[in-house]
Amino acid sequence: MPFDILVLTCLAYVIFLFLVAFAVERRAGQGAMGFLRSPVVYTLSLSIYCTAWTFYGAVGYAARSGIEYLTIYIGPTLVFVGWWWVLRKLVRIGRQQRVTSIADLISSRFGKSNLLGVMVTVIAVVAATPYIALQLQSVTLSFAVFASDAPAGWALPNRDATAVWVAGGLALFTILFGTRKLDAKEQHHGIVMAIAVEAVVKLVALVAVGVWVVWGLAGGPAAVVARISAMDNPDWALQPGRWFGLTALAAAAVITLPRMFQVLVVENVNERHLARASWAFPLYLFGMSLFILPIALIGLERMPADSNPDMMVLTLPLSEGQGTLAMLAFLGGFSSATSMVIVETVALATMLSNHVVMPLWLRLRPLAAMSGDLRGGILLARRLSIVGVLGLGLAYYRLSGGTVALASIGLIAFAGMAQVLPAMLGGIFWRGATKAGAVAGLATGFAAWGWTLFLPSFGQDVLIPASVFAEGPFGIGWLRPQALFGTGTMDPLLHSIFWSCALNSAAFCAGSILTFPDPVERIQGAAFVNAFDREAQAERLGWTHGQAEPEALLNLAQRILGEEALTFFEAEARAQGKEGYLPDLTPAFLAELERRLAGSVGAATAHAMISQLFGRATVTVEDLMAVANEAAQIMESSARLEAKQQELTITARQLREVNEKLTQLSVQKDAFLSQISHELRTPMTSIRAFSEILTEGDLPPAMVADYGRIIHDEAKRLTRLLDDLLDLSVLENGTVQLNLDLAHLGQMLDRAEAAASQTRPGRAFRVERDVTGEEVYLRTDSDRLVQVFINLISNARKYCDADPAVLRVVVRLKAGRVSIDFIDNGKGIPKDKQGLIFEKFSRLTDLSRAGGAGLGLAICREIMANLGGTVAYLPGQRGAAFRVTLPLRLEKQVA
């Protein structure tokens, strides 16, 4: 097989793929997809599960370990046959949430957390890098296999250069078809079609080699079966633990590998394609696995012992001179490698640019985010990510020197990506799963995987010193990479799978149980877990097939809208040309009704109400949250109204009180003015009348003297009245000036008794006093206090009806206050009048002999208030009794 033909064929094949992808992209641009997105294409695109590792490596695997390689096919088969409902849910959620990658799925589920997006991206990149390196290695190896046939004119590029060329070509292809346009849903029709074509090439090539081996070399299936039975290789013995572990691992990988998620969920255009894929993809896998064991068997028989079993698919036909078959096998392997690299790179680049590059860029250049179109930036980020991912793969390939067996690299990648599984399954089936749980699980699982599998895979003393393998880090034995918690007897791979998944799940569950999701997480959790219910409800949104009775709706509407409801129903019925008030439940009518109800109770509540009447609706958690939100708003505004109303009530009451007080004051003022008028006019009447009489002359001198005295008395009375009024006014206003000094109580009473003796000087009157009790010094306004005493003694002189009248003055000291009682021996004041005596103009007798205007006690009360004391009537004594109390020391003027 000439090498140049190989290169030309290869180039032609690549150009063919370019054309296919290009044509499909063009048709997709025109909206004419047709068969291009059929279930067959979808199923074939899923075949990127079968990479170069499966194509070449499976034979090597079978040659080394017997039929254990089957686990890699059994896992996905079990998932597609038994777990198709999980896949369907993933696809449904992917479409509802416009999921762009597995990192996006996890991030979106747990409250749109970018931290989780970054974590999944990092895991994916770390796990996928060796895997991409593996593809580059297989392509390079397959080229090298043909190298012996290179003509002299061809300067055979060395392996590294081949790898660079392949990586560069793949980067170009991926950038061309993976970043042609930006779409919320990352679908790449051209790429999908190209890998579908490659899937066919893979299958045809492997089956062709297989058929040739079985019928051409081995001599028929029966001979092969006989040889398998005769095999007695101890390495081929079945290990149940490994079987179970590897099957589970492959099952996890088929949904968590970035490229698988890309074609399974992101590139899915129709959920029903999954139904076809659920049996067709296992069939494809069956076809791919059918001839692995025969090829391995015959290869081991016929090939030299030192030949690489991973290349037997290629070397077996070559060694037998089957150039064309070898070419086909080469193209199959080439297809396997390239399709995997392209899709994996697209998936990783999407994650990298969405969760790492763009957030970083936006943080560094926040202004750019404001300035509108980010498309250029995103595309550039994606292209750089593609180059970066391929660059990483290339670097890994050159670093590892391409020595590690293909199969083990694939399994390491599987185990790495499987760490996403707990968060993914928990996220779509468990409402209680929280972001904290997902972070804890992913971090724990990733760390355990890295420590027990990924880092040791480089070999002892490369990244981890041999001493650590033997004794653990810092001598901690139970942390030994391949003997965690002292489980050293386990198979290293199984050991890593077991511990990483167990610790991951435990951390995930514990974190979820111990923490409480925030609102966004709860909403997203509900949306993911109830993905199917949401869909069902969304179909009802149009209200097209309702079962509610118009009466029930009217009932509901009346309860909320009142009279308006009936008017609305009548108008609608009339508009529909119907009699009465019950219109047909057309979607338009229902939408309008819901809109009106929403005006009163909020949109979510209105929707929930009508849903309820339609009988079939389940009110979702989001609905309930929205309803609660509205209820809270309504409650808040009603509470505000209530508070305002209360405020108004209080204000109204205050206003009423003020008004009453003003009215009362006005009445009091009228009464007061009327009283003053009376008190002023009475003496003036006498004065006027007598002065007229006197001016008329011819009166006997005795009468002149009498009448002159009357005029004088009445004038004095008038003056006294005016004095009292002014005094009272000053005292009531609190503007009185107090002259505080230290005064002897006995001396003050002496002064008062002397002054009061002017009142009715002729009558028999005696004051009984307790001289020792009066030995008290008071700090007060002595003149004012004497005024009170005079008033009380004078009143006794005027009104006490006993003969002889006796007034007892009793002094008591108590708690810093002094009380002075004035008790006479008369009949006292009747009970019903006791409350009135301190009011202005309240004379008990209307006899003018009292000689006062009835302001005396009112003035006393005001004086005592100014002195910080009181004057009160003392009931229950024999005669009239008044008690004056005041502080021993008046510290400051009392307002």
């Binding site: 009327s674 008028s677 009376h678 006019r681 009475t682 003036m684 009447t685 006498s686 004065i687 006027r688 009348a689 007598f690 007229e692 009489i693 009357i710 008395d713 009445e714 007798t845 209307d846 006899l847 003018s848």
Partner: protein
């Protein structure tokens, strides 16, 4: 002017002034200082003119007037009401009760004479 006048007035100085003014004019003036005592005096026999203070101890001028008007014998008795309060309200109340004439304190002596004369049916 010869007529019998009953004056019910608690302010003794004012009562003395009115008594002097009307006596000088030829009237026979009797004075009572208490409302109840005055009303009792009326029961003994009606004067030609009754001069009544509005505010009286015992029984107010308004009460006496109302009682008089309720009795047919005294329904037409000329009654001159005096008040020192001088408010329109009191005047209206007195007129409603059937007062014959109303005067505010203080008054001119001549006016007092003229009112009493008029109530006696005499020229001023």
């Amino acid at each position: 002017m010869a007529g019998r006048v009953l004056l019910i007035e608690d302010e003794s100085n004012i009562a003395e002034a009115i008594r002097f003014i009307l006596s000088r004019d030829g009237c026979e003036v009797e004075v009572e200082h208490d409302g109840r005592a005055g009303f009792a005096r009326l029961a003994e026999g009606l004067p030609d003119v009754l001069i009544l203070d509005l505010m009286l101890p015992g029984m107010s001028g308004l009460e006496i007037l109302t009682a008089l008007r309720a009795d047919p014998r005294s329904a037409d008795l000329p009654v001159l009401m005096l008040t020192a309060k001088g408010q329109g309200r009191d005047r209206e109340a007195a007129e409603r009760a059937g007062v014959s004439a109303f005067m505010s304190k203080p008054f001119a002596n001549a006016e007092m004479r003229a009112r009493v004369r008029a109530l006696m049916g005499l020229d001023a």
